[in-house]
Amino acid sequence: MSNTEDEKKIEVQNTKLLRSITIAIIILIATIPHNNNPYNLDYVTEFCAEGITTEIISFERLDFFACEIGFIDGEIDLGLYLSKMDNEKESFEKAFEEYTEVDILVLNYQNYNNFVRGEDYGVSNIELLSLNINPENDFMQKSIDSLDLYPDYYFLVFNWEYGEDDGTYNYPELEFYYYIRLSYAD
């Protein structure tokens, strides 16, 4: 094979390589977890932290935090823990100036999609609704035994007045600790 043919082949290979690299970079940018856009809607949500190890999450008032539980089929025992971080007392007082509540929801895939889109949605757990968190509470803990869920894919959502934005105040993003404990009921 002549040098010209070799060079041409290398050039073609490099062009292919550059094209693939460009596509890969676009995909990687589009799937950055906190870069919300219509293309990564709920594909980049992470799996929930299960067990006794707490995980730090951050979200602001008029927004929500969601994580994926996975496929559940049957009766489960569910424990939830949510606490504020100590160094953010001032920010909390500002954010909770008025009475407010954080809804903790366990939503199936269909309801989660409806929730994100701002449409009407159903909840799979009436027991967990409207759990309050305010400046006086340092942490919130709730356990529910024998929660009967039909076979589906579930999400855990901390809803802090999501979709009720009136545009009057830009609330700061706050950090929380949380964990979820899940076990199949005997």
Partner: protein, 308 residues
Amino acid sequence: MLILLDGTDYLLEVYFWLILGAILLVTLTIVFARPDLSNIEDNTEYNLKEGIVNEETSSSDDTINENKELDEVINETIDEDPEIIIEKVKKQWALAFTIFGLAFITVGSIVLYISEFAFTTFFAACMIYVGIMSIAKGLTFQLSENGWLKKIIPIGIFFLNLILLTGLLSVVEDRFWLPWIKLTELQRIGNIFLIFILPYLIWITVPTFNKNIKEEKETDLPLNLLNNSLKFVIANFVILWILNFNFISLPLLRQFSKVGFDLSIDLLKITIVIPVLSLLRKDRLSLIKAIFQKRKANSKKNDQEYKK
């Protein structure tokens, strides 16, 4: 499903459908093995060239013998045409996999029917699994290397594998039905292996007969790795996107495609580094080459000037 298989009627019905499916696959294999109809039509263009015919003496016995030898050589050359050999080997492989698959399904079904022990039930289910995968693999031999069907076969194998693992093999089934957050690290690795790596291994163990594709794959490994990662990302994204519509509810598939999507993004991050480095290395080499060529040219020029 195995609970259903305990009943004789269900077992016979399942066996019937498996055999029917296998026959269908064999039929499809034969259909795909046939030459393309468009190639049968003779569209060859002939060029007419004028020539002069001279009268010559008739050919002697020696000339006849020479012609015979030449014919034999031509025939041998035709016989040894690599494409024909490849087609023959492909057919042999396809037939071997189909017979092997059918035998496994038959034996597995008999074991499932006769014995009721947990181990033999699982063993028989495994045999049926291997048999079905073997038939699917046999089918791929007859597909055109560059055809669209060959390109979507990996997705088909992924779904077939998922259905068989979740529906047929009861031992691993329990682990599959747990929420992902409840699984230990080892169980997660095991599930990823069974759902993603196993069908991929089944796919790549099918030998490639196309020499060009084989050479291309060997020479451009970084590009192939990156392209495969991209395909993996896109396939998972498409599944997630389809499931995003509320008209279809396949929660277990959602779980695995979500895991697959996360995995593919991580894989993409790794595989993008290799081609970038390779590209930089290539650029550096071509830069060094260019510098050396320039220096060589300069030294030649200086020598010529010195001689003058």
